[in-house]
Structures are given as structure tokens and as C-alpha cells.
Amino acid sequence: MSLHQFLLEPITCHAWNRDRTQIAISPNNHEVHIYQKSGNQWVKSHELKEHNGHITGIDWAPKSDRIVTCGADRNAYVWSLKDGVWKPTLVILRINRAATFVKWSPLENKFAVGSGARLISVCYFESDNDWWVSKHIKKPIRSTVLSLDWHPNNVLLAAGSCDFKCRVFSAYIKEVEEKPGPTPWGSKMPFGAVLAEFGGAGGGGWVHSVSFSSSGNRLAWVSHDSTVTVVDGTKGSTPSQLKTEFLPLLSVLFISENSVVAAGHDCCPMLFRCDDGGSLTFVSKLDLPKASITRNISAMERFRNMDKRATTEDRNTALETLHQNSITQVSIYEGDQSDCRKFCTTGIDGAMTIWDFKQNVINDIHWNEMLTRGQHGPQLKTRLSQ
């Protein structure tokens, strides 16, 4: 794992370009900063200043190399690189509250924006007028939309919102695409139709993050009542929920068809496994703290502590985890959603960490356990035998 501390400001959101040589982050203000990798360092190469409110979402389309940003100023901009400068194009979202999240669709011909206006704005490019047009998905969303994820078929959209529910909508836009074939989630998909709705009744907390698996058959979400839930569309609609003993998780990501990585207020990414029967189990925390060394404090340090902090003890206030504050976003760094080798986390501490499954310490302790239980499928087994 390698940690890079950008600045002291929280990183609200981040997005990688296709070959992971550039990262776009927002340091909790109205701007997007693009950093270029040079050797082991990250050098700031561009500053995108157009928004009038805090940036709440950034997504970088890997193939078409366009960046879409959305902010608390109720706007979204699509940025394209022209002559080495990023030029923005305003997108009329027609929302009267802040935008909260934005994501390009897999084919990059549309993007979806979640907002506090209790609706999702699905935007596509209308070439006649040379602008982006938005269509709204309103019913039956009853509160702020916190998170979105596209199904690989470019039509279905999962949304997690503050009304404690996770829903699967159809975002089929007839102007830009063909009618989609049937999926385990449903076959009739007019725009705005709700194909599935989960959550609510009984417990429930705000659904912070949703993620489709690479096949699109499984959907995972994390919510504020410290639970992780996975539902398999092919196995009927009973979700399998795991009540964790951790603080609420804020971001979730499928890293293979059977494994899910989630991170949140515990400042530590956690690995969960979803077996073929559909039940979810916790595997391990992926950030194993180094053993704290209790050393003898010199007399000089004692007096210095007494002077500075009115205490003679060596009380280290740093957290044991790599991240010193909550992790707000998890993204894939190397690999794809069916087989991820490295993933990246950013958080409120302003740090960006890249986690490597191969080098991770969990290999030693948990790998044997995983192999005997036959988890994770064939890919990981062959990689370990190399």
C-alpha cells in the first residue's frame, strides 16, 4: 500500500483517467485539481475552476477522456481537453437543489446526476443543438439521492438515497440507444421505471453507496445503520444483509463477482465475501495496524511533553490505520470490476492510498483460509501459484 498525502484539506471525491497517470480530485472547495504522476510524485497540472459551489462528484470517462463534474451550485459541467486546456460545457440539469453524485454510463454516451432535489438527472448529448439534455427520474424517490451506479448494459441505474432505500431504475434513452434485452432485473424498461426497490422497513439508514458487480447480476449497498447488503438479481429478490460491528461504511465496490470492498468511518477498507448462495460474510479488515512500539521516553521528551501538553506520557493521538480520517470513496486502480488487483481510497484526511492485494499482509494470514474455503474463484488461485 502506498499513501500519498495531497494537502490537509479533505478530498471530497476523485476520479482516475484511463491509464491511471492522472487523478482529478476536489480538495473540498469549488475547484477540481488534476494531478499528473511523475515518478513517485504527483504534480498538479490543471485547475478546473468553473463551479460556484463545492464539487460533490467527479467522473472521468476512460475512453472518451471527458470529465464530468457536479456541484452544490446545482450545475454540472462536461470538460474536454482541447489544446492542453480543459474546456467546460455547461449541462442544464434543471434541479433546484445541490447535485450530490455523478457517474458516466459504461458506453459514455450519457451520465446520471443524483441531487438533493429528490431526483436523478440523466443527461445525454443532443447533437442537433450541440448541447446536453437532461431527463428526470423522480418517482418514487422521497429524499436526497446519495449514490448511483450503472449496470453494464448501459440502461439500468442503481440509486441509493436518504429515504433508506436502494432502487434499480431504467435510464433507457431512446434517442441514444437501442432497446435493451431482458435482464434478471426485469425486461420491460421504459425510462424512469423502478425495476427493484430494497430497504426501508424496520432498520435502515441512508444508503451511502451502491455498486453493481461486473456481470450486473449482483447489487451491493452500504447504509448508515452499519450494514452491508447484497442482492442477487438472478436468485430472486431477497437481499442478504450483514450487520457489522463497525462504524457506518461510506463507499462500496465489487472487486470480483464474489468479493466486495467497503470503507467508511472506521478509516479502514474491509473485505466481504458473497458466496454463490448469496449470503454475505465479513472476511477481514485490509489495513492491519503495525504493532505499536512502546518505547522508553527520554527525560528531555518528558519535560517537553510537560511543557507542551501538560502530560508526561507519550500519548500518540494518531490512528493506527493508514488513513487518519474517514474514507469517503473507494475506486478501482488496477484491473476491473471482475478482477481487481489494486484499489484506491481517498478520505477526509486528504490522503490517497493505493492498496495492493498481492503485497497485502492479509495474504499471509488469510489467504490459506480463503483457498481452503474455495473463495474468490479461479483467478486468485492461479495468481498465488505463480
Binding site: 429515504d163 426501508g200 422497513a201 432498520g203 439508514g205 450487520k243 457489522t244 460491528e245 463497525f246 462504524l247
Partner: protein
């Protein structure tokens, strides 16, 4: 002054009730649990069978009703059981619960904290410590985020 300022009846109106965007919880599960049976619990406590009394007390939690009387009654019964426990018996009792049982116990513990009486706080804190060891911070977060309370 204008005539319409004489009446102050408008001050008694709760304007938020008329808000079209007001969030209303889903009303499902009409099955309302009435809470544990007080008489049965009393018998068991008298016989000294605390474990069974404990399990029965945690059955049928009145989470779905809006009737405060039922909730108060259930709370009183559960607290009576919890305060009658010996300190050494708390840990095995907590260990005998499953995940949702620990969450339910945590809900009752926090409800018990709301109205402390002479001898309840100390024993409740011991219950809290043991329940926290099993349920972790997640169980406390679920007490805070639960839409349906005991």
C-alpha cells in the same frame, strides 16, 4: 391595526404537517407485537431462572406499534429482568443472543438509560459493556438509526 391580527388561532397550526414533501414512513407490517408477558416473567424471576426470563423478555418486541403504553409496559418488564441479573451472569446471557438479539438488547439498554433510577444505571452500564463487546459500535449505530424503536 388590521382586523385579522386579533385572532392568534393560526399559532396553533403545525405548518409542517401540511408540507407536501413531508417524509412519511412506510406503514407496513400490521403485525403488532404486544411485548413480553409480564406474569410469566415474574414467575421465572421468582424461580430464579434468569436466562429463560431474559429470552422471553426479549421476545415480541413492540417495535411496530405506535402505542406508547405498550412500549412502556414492555420496557418496564425488560428492565426488571435486566436489573435482577447478577453481574457474573450478564456475559453468558449476552453470548447466548444472536446478532439481532444483541441489537434489540442495545435498544432496551439505551431506553433504560433515558430514565435512570437508583439502582438501574450501574447494572445497565455493565449490560452495555458486555453487549458492546459483542455488537461493537455497529449495534449502537443501529440503535440511533432505527426507525422503529422499542
Amino acid at each position: 391595526m388590521a382586523k385579522n391580527t386579533l385572532s392568534s388561532r393560526f399559532r396553533k397550526l403545525d405548518i409542517d404537517e401540511f408540507d407536501e414533501n413531508k417524509f412519511v414512513d412506510d406503514h407496513d407490517e400490521p403485525v403488532d407485537n404486544q411485548g413480553p408477558d409480564g406474569a410469566e416473567i415474574d414467575n421465572l424471576i421468582r424461580q430464579g431462572d434468569m436466562m429463560t426470563a431474559f429470552h422471553i423478555a426479549l421476545r415480541n418486541p413492540p417495535v411496530n406499534t405506535k402505542n406508547p403504553a405498550i412500549k412502556e409496559r414492555a420496557l418496564a418488564i425488560v428492565l426488571r429482568v435486566l436489573t435482577s441479573f447478577k453481574s457474573s451472569d450478564i456475559e453468558p446471557a449476552v453470548k447466548s443472543l444472536d446478532r439481532s438479539g444483541v441489537d434489540l438488547l442495545m435498544k432496551y439498554i439505551y431506553r433504560g438509560f433515558e430514565k435512570p433510577s437508583d439502582n438501574s444505571s450501574a447494572i445497565l452500564l455493565q449490560w452495555h459493556e458486555k453487549a458492546f463487546a459483542v455488537g461493537g459500535l455497529g449495534s449502537i449505530v443501529r440503535v440511533l438509526t432505527a426507525r422503529k424503536t422499542v
